[in-house]
Each structure stands twice: as structure tokens, then as C-alpha cells.
């Protein structure tokens, strides 16, 4: 039984299956735009500071899998973000996505607080390696954000949709 369970896990974790998305492939958009869509499951520490009237400002450092349903940017990336959330109506931050080769996409984040149902918009400002010089934008909505007992939050963003291309927007 144990061997069978490990065998199943080993098979499941094999690169071939991991790489097989099974998701629909979006077409490449006009004017050199490459579109992408997917989800982002992220986890990380949140430090808070009560700012009165029941509000708390927070610094959130999230990290997790950006899983893309489209193939233009590969199957997915590691998504990391650090953001300041004023606890009322604004969050700003920076995000770095890293692919399997170690190439990065950099973006600026702006939107609503990091909380369930809230929306964030990202502006892609550049990258490294194969993404050097890219620009673009994307948005996502937090399907849920929950805090565990150790001031660590975990959330899942859905409706992650965006586009990018080489050169200025």
C-alpha cells in the first residue's frame, strides 16, 4: 500500500505529467501581444500594524505557483510579490515571476487590499533573459485569502488574465 502510494506520487510528479496542462491553448493576440490566463496560489508572512478604527496596515510577502492555462508563457512560473496594504482601500507592491530557466518578469501591483474577492492590477515593466524588454499588464481576483495561526496568509487568485510583448506598450 505504501509503495503503491509512493509510486502514484512519483508518477504524478514526473515531469511529463507536470508539464501536461490539458488546458485550452489561447491564440497569440494581434500586434505581437502574447496573452496568458491562469491562477496564482500563494503563501507567505503578513506583518500588520493596527492603524485605528479597526483597520490594520500590512506588509505581505507572498510566494507560490502561477499556473497558466495558456502555453504562450509555458506551463507556469513561480510568482513572488511584496505589497503594502493600507487595510482600507489600497495595496501597492512589486511582483517577480520566475520561469524554469530562471528568467524573470517584473511588474508593479496596484489594487484593492489583499483579501477575499478583491482585485489587483499588475503592470509589467520589464524582465530578464527571454523576457528582457517586455511590457504588458494583467489583473487577478483573490478567490480566497485566509490567515493561519502564525501570521502567515495563504490565498488563491483566479481570473488571472494578461498580455505582454516586447517593446513599449
Amino acid at each position: 500500500m505504501i509503495r503503491a502510494a509512493i509510486g502514484v506520487l512519483a508518477v504524478l510528479s514526473a515531469p511529463a505529467l507536470l508539464g501536461a496542462g490539458g488546458a485550452p491553448q489561447a491564440g497569440t493576440a494581434a500586434a505581437g501581444w502574447r496573452t496568458f490566463a491562469g491562477t496564482w496560489s500563494a503563501r507567505g508572512p503578513r506583518q500588520t500594524l493596527p492603524t485605528g478604527a479597526g483597520h490594520s496596515a500590512a506588509i505581505v510577502h507572498l510566494s507560490g505557483a502561477v499556473v497558466l492555462a495558456t502555453k504562450d508563457l509555458g506551463g507556469g512560473m513561480l510568482g513572488e510579490a511584496i505589497a503594502f496594504d493600507d487595510g482600507q482601500n489600497l495595496s501597492v507592491g512589486r511582483a517577480v515571476w520566475t520561469d524554469a530557466r530562471g528568467d524573470h518578469i517584473f511588474s508593479e501591483l496596484k489594487g484593492e487590499p489583499v483579501a477575499t474577492g478583491r482585485r489587483v492590477v499588475g503592470t509589467i515593466t520589464g524582465g530578464s533573459g527571454q523576457y528582457a524588454g517586455v511590457t504588458g499588464d494583467y489583473s487577478l481576483t483573490w478567490q480566497y485569502v485566509a490567515q493561519d495561526l502564525d501570521d502567515v496568509v495563504q490565498g488563491r487568485a483566479v481570473d488571472l488574465r494578461g498580455r505582454l510583448r516586447k517593446g513599449t506598450p
Binding site: 510566494s63 509555458g74 507556469g76 524554469a100
Partner: protein, 460 residues
């Protein structure tokens, strides 16, 4: 599997390029983590050895920064386990454990099976007041250990080792089932209910209890029998035991000073743990207070603490595995694997997809060292994919939430609530993984066979 072969597989995995969508760090950390677990399951290395080698490799190769790699050593829940070990020692040392053991044997001790049912019964009744199943394990473990002691099972003595194993693993399975019975019996349950709300599934205290009642009670009735058949304790029928226990109780006489101190300390800790959520108290601080009281009263001494080497070993290996698993999550491995696995079930019929999602969700607990982390990383993903494949949201949500509790038994590190029993001296690593796999499979079967029609009935 030979250690050389396991090492070779780890090395090959290390140098294979990661699957598209994962970073090299996530892939290599997975190779180390999975390699450590395989070493333990194959009985090639003790869990402490495999864990410390894995974390050393992760830091020295630059995969993890030292600050991240050692973060588990400052985790409150892991500290709570260490403290619960020490507090449990006082129950045994002062003789209160033997008294409780004799008392329970006098009521339930006509058979070994009856002792197991007494553990499930006590745990099931106190569970709704304990949002931390780790804290609850600090109450159930001394009870199970005292029962084993009263039945003549001692760690290191092979004559009744299987009896001790049976009662210890009864404690592990009992905690997993009692957590599934009540919304408030495990910290992650309310979080899961909150996420389920995003999919239109409203879960409250009453609706959880109603949905969980029949399959969980079936589990509580059947699982002691299953463990009894698998473990085959040396002692089965003991019709004379209740009378002998009553005699032993009479010989013990009234409570002694140390027993009263431990009883008061324990009652205080249980009361504070039970009200920790409503009073905003930290469960670990409550355990520190209890340990402080026991040390100050002289019931526990520094000499006693010095002899608890097993506690240090448990603290180290669990903190290491906890950290490696958390970092795998933050490096995107868990989210990526869960999402891809769930998506791979596209095209299956809703019924088959529902079962396949549940099975995959349970099996993935092999790579998690926390029930809460597993739920937060994958519950929403699996529910989302299931709903898109046409699986009804409410039954799937309940089945996944119940699984979040019962899969705790699948590995010794599957829940911090297992650690006291795993470190009892009655269960070998091989026992823990073998019994964990079999008992989790049986529990899943019970929840599927009994729970599926029951959920269809109550969710109409």
C-alpha cells in the same frame, strides 16, 4: 529499496531539468524532501537522520536560506508538542496516569478492544471544545499511555508491544476522526468552511455535525476493529481485568500531593485550551504556564527533563520536515502539482472525477506536514476543478473537508497531533507508515461508502 538506489534516484532527479512551470529550486527541494521520506519509509534511515541530512543539503546547496530553513524551530505549534511531551511525563511520574488507567480498565477493561473504544469515546466528547487537535493530543496521549501501562505494556518490552501499538495508533486515528466530527475540533475546519462559502456551500456548526455524524460515527465504531485485526494485540480478552483494576485502585488509596498538583495543573490547562480561542490565548503559552507550575511545584524536576532525549529528536525532525514542506509550498510546488493534477482529470465523468479528486487530495498529504497548510493550498483548487467538471459542490466540499481531518494519520508527520503517540516508544517508523496508509484507506472507504449516500440525503 537499497540506500544506494534511493540516493541515485535523488541525484538523478536533482539534475533533471524541472518540469515547465516549476523553478529549479522547487524541483530540487522536492527531490530532497521526497528522498528523505522514501529513506524513512524504506527503513533505510531513521526519520531524524533523513531529516537533518535533507535540511543540511538544502542550506549548503543554497536552495534555502538559513533563516527560512530553521524557521520551524520557532513555530508555536511545534513548541506545543515539546511541552505536551513534558507535561505528559508528569502524569505518568506522579502515578495519576496509573490511577486513571486503572479507573478506565475497571469500566472498559473486559477486552483490549474496549480500552480502544474508551479512547475514541473520551476524545469524541471533549473534541468540540478544543480547536487545536495538537492541544487535545496532550490530553488523549497520557490517557492512552496510562491505559497501555495499566494493561502491562511498557515501551521497550516486547511481550506486549503490539498492545501498546494498538492503543497508541487508536489515539492517532481517534484524533483524526473526532476532528472530522465537529467544526470546532480542528483549526483548519472553519477556514475550509469559509472557502467553501465562495463556492456557494454554507457550512455552520450544525450543518457540519449533521453531515459528519453518520460517516464519522461509523468510523469510530469500525476503525478500532480494523486496527485490532491489523495489529493483533497480544492480549485480547481480559474478563478478570476490571476486578484487578478495582483492587489496584483500592491499594493506591487517596490522591497523593503530587497527583493533586498534576490534576489541578491539567484541569487548568484543559480549561484554558478549551477557551483559548474565545479569550484570545495562545495554546503554547498555556502549556508553558502548565510546565512552569509543574516545575515550580517540584512534581517535575530538571533531572526528569534531562532524560527526555526523545523529545529533542522529535522536535528536530518535525521542525525540519515542517519547514521543508512549507518552503515547497512557497516555492509553488504544491499549488502547481495540485492544479495540474486536478486539471488532468478533465474529461472524466462527474462521479469518477469526484472520487479521483478525493483520492488525489488524500494521497498528496504525503508531501504536507500540516493539515492547515494542505487545506489552504489545495482545498480551493480541488473544489474549483471539481465544480467545473460537474461534481456537485456541497458533497465534494464536505468530503474534502472530512479528508483534511482523517488524512492526518497517513504519516507520522501528517499532523502535529500524531507526534506524542509516534514518540511513545511503542510504534516503529515502519509501523507508523504502514498503519497510516491502511487506516487512512479504510477511513476514506468508510466516508465514501457511508458518507456519500448520507450526504445525498442530508443535502437534498
Amino acid at each position: 529499496m537499497a540506500p544506494a538506489m534511493i540516493t541515485a534516484v535523488i541525484l538523478v532527479t536533482w539534475f533533471v531539468p524541472p518540469p515547465e512551470g516549476l523553478t529549479i529550486q522547487a524541483w530540487r527541494l522536492f527531490a530532497l524532501f521526497a528522498g528523505a521520506i522514501v529513506f524513512v519509509v524504506a527503513n533505510a534511515l531513521p526519520i531524524l537522520t533523513a531529516s537533518v541530512i535533507a535540511v543540511a543539503a538544502a542550506v549548503l546547496s543554497g536552495l534555502l536560506s538559513p533563516a527560512k530553513a530553521y524557521a520551524g524551530f520557532a513555530n508555536g505549534t511545534i513548541l506545543l508538542i515539546v511541552l505536551a511531551f513534558l507535561v505528559a511525563r508528569s502524569v505518568v511520574k506522579c502515578g495519576l496516569g496509573a490511577r486513571i488507567g486503572h479507573l478506565l480498565v475497571s469500566r472498559f477493561g473486559r477486552s483490549t478492544l474496549g480500552l480502544s473504544y474508551s479512547i475514541f469515546l473520551v476524545d469524541g466528547l471533549i473534541a468540540p471544545a478544543f480547536p487545536s487537535n495538537t492541544a487535545r493530543s496532550g490530553v488523549i496521549f497520557p490517557l492512552a499511555f496510562s491505559l497501555a501501562d495499566a494493561a502491562g505494556a511498557k515501551p521497550g518490552d516486547d511481550s506486549r508491544r503490539r498492545l501498546g501499538s494498538f492503543l497508541m495508533f487508536s489515539g492517532i486515528v481517534s484524533l483524526s476522526l473526532s476532528s472530522a466530527l465537529w467544526l470546532t475540533a480542528m483549526a483548519a475546519n472553519p477556514m475550509g468552511a469559509e472557502i467553501a462559502k465562495r463556492f456557494g456551500v454554507e457550512i455552520g456548526f450544525g450543518s457540519w455535525l449533521l453531515a459528519a455524524s453518520v460517516p464519522t460515527i461509523a468510523g469510530i465504531v469500525l476503525m478500532p476493529l480494523v486496527l485490532y485485526r491489523i495489529i493483533s494485540p497480544e492480549l485480547t480478552s481480559t474478563p478478570e481485568a476490571p476486578a484487578a483494576a478495582r483492587l489496584a485502585l483500592a491499594r493506591l488509596g487517596p490522591l497523593r500531593r503530587d497527583e493533586i498538583v498534576v490534576l489541578v495543573a491539567f484541569a487548568g490547562m484543559v480549561s484554558l485550551w478549551a477557551s483559548a480561542a474565545s479569550l484570545g490565548l495562545d495554546s503554547t503559552a498555556v502549556a508553558f504556564l502548565g510546565l512552569g507550575g509543574l516545575l515550580a511545584s517540584g512534581v517535575l524536576t530538571l533531572e526528569d527533563i534531562r532524560h527526555e532525549g526523545d523529545v529533542l529528536a522529535t522536535f528536530i525532525w518535525f521542525a525540519v520536515l515542517f519547514t521543508l514542506s512549507s518552503q515547497l509550498n512557497e516555492l509553488g510546488f504544491m499549488g502547481f502539482l495540485g492544479q495540474r493534477l486536478a486539471e488532468a482529470m478533465g474529461g472524466l465523468s462527474p462521479v469518477v472525477a469526484g472520487f479521483a479528486l478525493l483520492a488525489a487530495y488524500v494521497l498528496l498529504h504525503y508531501v504536507f506536514v500540516s493539515q492547515t497548510a494542505h487545506l489552504l493550498a489545495l482545498f480551493g483548487v480541488f473544489l474549483d476543478v471539481g465544480v467545473k467538471l460537474g461534481v456537485p459542490a456541497a458533497p465534494l466540499a464536505f468530503q474534502l473537508l472530512f479528508a483534511t481531518n482523517y488524512f492526518a494519520a497517513i504519516t507520522p508527520q501528517g499532523s502535529s497531533a500524531n507526534l506524542l503517540f509516534a514518540g511513545s516508544g511503542f510504534l516503529s517508523q515502519r509501523d507508523l507508515y504502514r498503519l497510516g496508509a491502511v487506516s487512512t484507506a479504510c477511513t476514506m472507504l468508510i466516508y465514501l461508502v457511508v458518507g456519500t449516500p448520507w450526504l445525498r440525503f442530508v443535502l437534498r
